[in-house]
Symmetry: C2
Subunit: 258 residues, 2 copies
């Protein structure tokens, strides 16, 4: 049974897609089999891994709405042991279609938990859109744990309490075993007062939930997707690559201790 | 009749809220009366202008869903001639509630266009959430024009074509006079290859739609909301302040020439 982690934060632009792609690649580089599920209609995770829009034959829209089997949706990336269930903009209509569906927040859980039976994934990472909509709720129900990227900025800290409320609600109504894998500081610039302040606030309020690893702001990280590569492939010695490998080690260690 | 501009981009974290707050303040500092409409359930524009959650008695949720008059929702900010219709997280349920409403994308247009009759606003700026959901569609129907913040990054450029498709659809089905006020490059770092590349691509594809003013990446811009001030009040001589004042001048000039 793979460990399913949803990468969530309704605040936009905090590094959800970047963390999904690069943590996924770092875990794969350590010998694990990883599936990325792109649940954002923008399809940034699919593009960032080089899956052209015309090559996305079956997508996460088909998985959730049409009942297509996971094995038909999943496809390889150019990175060893890293697979992806891609997304297209079709997914943006899924939200409205789900509203009237009786099992509307359980559809991804059913599709994923059934679909992974005959595959050998160690980790599944779900990249979520910047909203607490039905797609993100589906991810929170399907997941065993949540990874929360926290940009070291003022507005990003504000959204955290709202996210924690939603997590509690999902735990009470649909997924009692849902845990928080952790909170990871992203685009961290140690020279910046605000960033140090956000780190202090996060560690004071959330304690050990905050990973030791911080992802630094690093231009190589933002360049990598334009070459359709994870940063650990685009520039293996960059500060971004080193940080994502360290995050992967922390998560693997944490997971083996459970 | 005020000029109503919706600040839109479904890509997250591109500077929609920051542009709404600071362009609004810059226009107000030039003697114009400005209303900011916070249409994002995160309520970042309301927080960034110092409206505490407990002081948001009537909100844009009430305006759209409950039919509360605009005059009851609008309240002053600490900045002269800058008013706000605040938002709370209640707004996140509005999306689902709107799905079954017959006039679901015309509700904000009706509330705004009626509500501004007896007020003396010169500009109305609507801050949108990072999604092409029913809230954003309401803003695109209510607006005369759209302002599109474009972060100088790879993923941000990808979302633009999807946004342009939605704009064409809204123009054909609900708001035939909808124009594009312009595209403004945000968090621009001239030392960064990727940023210069995005600027070149944007100006090649969009021509004069791209404002001459570029908003530089400037830490004072991201610090200002933690002091509940627009950057032109927090640090009037900063590069961010100068840029937003220049953007205001461009928009005023463009608007007076029409
Ligand atoms: N450590 C980093 N250093 C520099 N740039 C980064 C870093 N992490 C992310 N970025 C850049 O910041 C932008 C936002 O990141 P990303 O798109 O991953 O966020 P997101 O949370 O997935 O956004 P959305 O809310 O739209 O889904 C991207 O252009 C990305 O390349
Ligand atoms: N010119 C700038 N220089 C430095 N930081 C900036 C600049 N513009 C915006 N920021 C910071 O970048 C982050 C994202 O900006 P903002 O929240 O305005 O984007 P948004 O598009 O409104 O996000 P969302 O999609 O979540 O609504 C914020 O923390 C903001 O303070
Ligand atoms: Mg993303
Ligand atoms: Mg915003």
């Amino acid at each position: 049974e793979p460990h399913i982690i949803a990468v969530v934060n309704q605040k936009g632009g905090v590094g959800k897609t970047t963390t999904t792609i690069n943590l996924g690649a770092a875990l794969a580089s350590k010998g694990l089999n990883v599936l990325i599920v792109d649940l954002d209609p923008q399809g940034n995770a699919s593009t960032g891994l080089g899956i052209e829009p015309e090559d996305r034959e079956f997508t996460t829209y088909d998985l959730i709405i049409e009942g297509t089997a996971l094995a038909d949706v999943v496809r390889p990336t150019k990175f060893n042991r890293l697979m992806i269930a891609p997304a297209t903009t079709d997914l943006s209509s899924a939200d409205m279609q789900l509203v009237s569906h009786e099992k509307r927040i359980f559809l991804l859980q059913k599709a994923l938990r059934e679909g992974v039976q005959d595959q050998k994934f160690d980790f599944v990472l779900i990249d979520c859109p910047p909203s607490l909509n039905l797609l993100t709720l589906n991810a929170m129900v399907a997941a065993h744990a949540l990874l929360i990227p926290l940009q070291s900025e003022f507005f990003a800290l504000e959204g955290l309490s709202q996210l924690m409320l939603s997590i509690r609600e999902i735990r009470q109504t649909a997924n009692p075993d849902l845990r928080i894998e952790g909170v990871v500081l992203t685009m961290f610039d140690a020279r910046n007062n605000l960033a140090r302040q956000v780190e202090e606030d996060a560690r004071d309020n959330l304690g050990d939930l905050v990973f030791k690893t911080k992802i630094p702001r690093n231009v190589r990280v933002s360049e990598a997707p334009s070459y359709a590569m994870p940063v650990i492939q685009y520039d293996p010695t960059s500060r971004g690559s080193v940080a994502y490998k360290s995050l992967a080690t922390e998560i693997m260690k944490q997971h083996s201790e459970r």
